[in-house]
Subunit: 325 residues, 2 copies
């Protein structure tokens, strides 16, 4: 890559389709993003959403510095990769939509799609924090917990391409019902996501009236994961304790992943990365104490490299791997 | 296979090394077991155990109907397949032993080793209930819960060959400590193994004094998973309820596996298979209710084909795949 000047001109378009916004860019083989677009994705009907996405891709194609070989989409839902149909999509009206075929028809370009978690994993695996590891996991701690899995040197996709929903592991038998359209109970993301930090922060504010957290509640602010993280970084002991509690729960899920997958690396991404070692420190301690010794000794738990660009870069990497012959 | 008479004479030796006994046999490519041996494995020092195993293999080689191409061992522990060393072995004195190299030296034959759960999975995948599935899991419900995983058409082995310890997924945050040498807490096998059936049966006997279970306790019998299963088959409602409770907990673990792996089949093996639909029925109901709809719709939960022979046949299959050129 990059040895022949002519090759560097080859581009793909990567699209990271999220529940509130879509990001797109023309991406070169050196992973440079040549043109970057963002549009709201929320509140649109199916046809409107597809129009917006097609418009974004066309604009990126026009601005690309070279020939565009294909388009990769990271979609926030469960995909059936055999058919290119979106099987489930909690935040966007894409359930049952022949997404891959419809976008290929509209764009006249080869299209590849995958789950957004798989795309982010692909970017980190090929070019980021999981590079060189044949067995690695990506855990994206945001509103919920998403993820991607590399096992034996390949992305784990499951029978129909819907796998790696690691946020939906049961960590509490008969626990509270999942949010969104998942019919499960007691899932990891209820206890260890960014939303979980917010929930635990609101509880802590009630039981610690003298804390900075309680002062924020008194001032009318909503306790979110981001706010807890901010207060913890400013030294509020209650906020630090909240991150430690959620970090331990994050670590308990890591224990399952270490025991089942025996990975070399667990790459942590998402908004929760801002909490840094206040969250990951307690998580690592749980893994050191509770995972099987011969498995925990080979695993590193580290932050992702690409941050909020992982989805876009992963969708582009997918396009390079699946659309470029 | 089997087209050329000369080929049918080719054999391997399969050894299923368990915590209490070792099984060995000369196995043909048609999976027929030509000579079958069993020896106690418990209470031996490392050297004695290796001697016993070498003796069993030599006897099987002598009795084999054709040339022996190699030897496969299923070992009940965490293996480092890069080095052939046993990394952890709760029930036998093999921790740190260069098992593969030592057996190859003693026997003068090619040797392949894998975790016993992986061996059983291999047998069911190549020749049994998981045949033809590129994504499948085997869940062995016995004293604990063991397993094997096929993902994307390959056995999942992890970074050092120690993966697929699915019995050691956390299903209860801060739950009771694991038995044996696992330092974890709240693991699935605590709630859904054969031992768990026995524990839940003993509790139920205390709270239902009129039950057949309570009568057995009064008669001095220990409540085991096998006894609960026997009484349930004879119609004792309390025993039926115990299997249903443990079946639901088994199902909650299946939910995690379905959401993470998106398998086509989950093959259930081990002593708990004797409980049949009294255990698997409630487990299937939980999956139908709580797993992600698009994933649960493609998965079948079915009993294994090979029963107690799966380990031996899987070790033989391993030898055919790794020792035969």
């Amino acid at each position: 890559m990059g040895m022949f000047p002519a090759m560097a001109d080859r581009c793909v378009i990567g699209v990271d389709l999220g529940g509130t916004k879509a990001l797109a860019g023309a991406v070169g083989e050196d992973l440079a993003v040549h043109h970057r677009l963002q549009r709201p994705s929320q509140g649109l009907a199916t046809g409107e959403l597809l129009d917006v996405l097609a418009g974004m891709v066309r604009e990126a194609v026009d601005a690309a510095p070279g020939e565009v070989a294909g388009v990769g989409f990271g979609v926030p839902g469960v995909l059936d990769r055999r058919t290119g149909i979106v099987a489930a999509c909690p935040h966007l009206p894409l359930e049952g939509v022949r997404f891959e075929a419809l976008m290929a028809e509209r764009l006249g370009l080869p299209v590849a799609i995958d789950n957004d978690g798989n795309c982010a994993m692909l970017a980190e695996w090929r070019h980021g924090a999981a590079r060189g590891a044949d067995d690695a996991l990506m855990v994206t701690v945001g509103t919920g917990i998403g993820g991607g899995i590399v096992a034996g040197g390949r992305l784990l996709r499951g029978a129909t391409g819907g796998g790696a929903e690691i946020g939906h592991m049961v960590v509490e038998l008969d626990g509270p019902p999942c949010e969104g359209r998942c019919p499960g109970r007691g899932h990891w993301e209820w206890y260890a996501s960014g939303n979980a930090i917010g929930r635990a922060g609101a509880e802590a504010a009630r039981s610690a009236p003298g804390s900075a957290l309680a002062a924020e509640v008194a001032g009318g602010r909503e306790i979110t994961g981001a706010l807890v993280t901010e207060l913890a970084h400013h030294g509020d002991a209650t906020a630090v304790d909240v991150l430690a509690l959620v970090g331990r729960r994050l670590g308990q899920g890591f224990v399952s992943l270490v025991n089942v997958f025996n990975p070399e690396r667990i790459v942590v991404a998402g908004g929760a990365v801002a909490a840094g070692d206040l969250l990951l420190g307690p998580a690592r301690e749980v893994v050191a104490r509770e995972a099987m010794p011969s498995l925990r000794d080979v695993v590193q738990i580290i932050p992702a490299r690409f941050g909020s660009d992982a989805g876009l870069l992963g969708a582009a990497t997918l396009a390079f791997e699946e659309c470029v012959r």
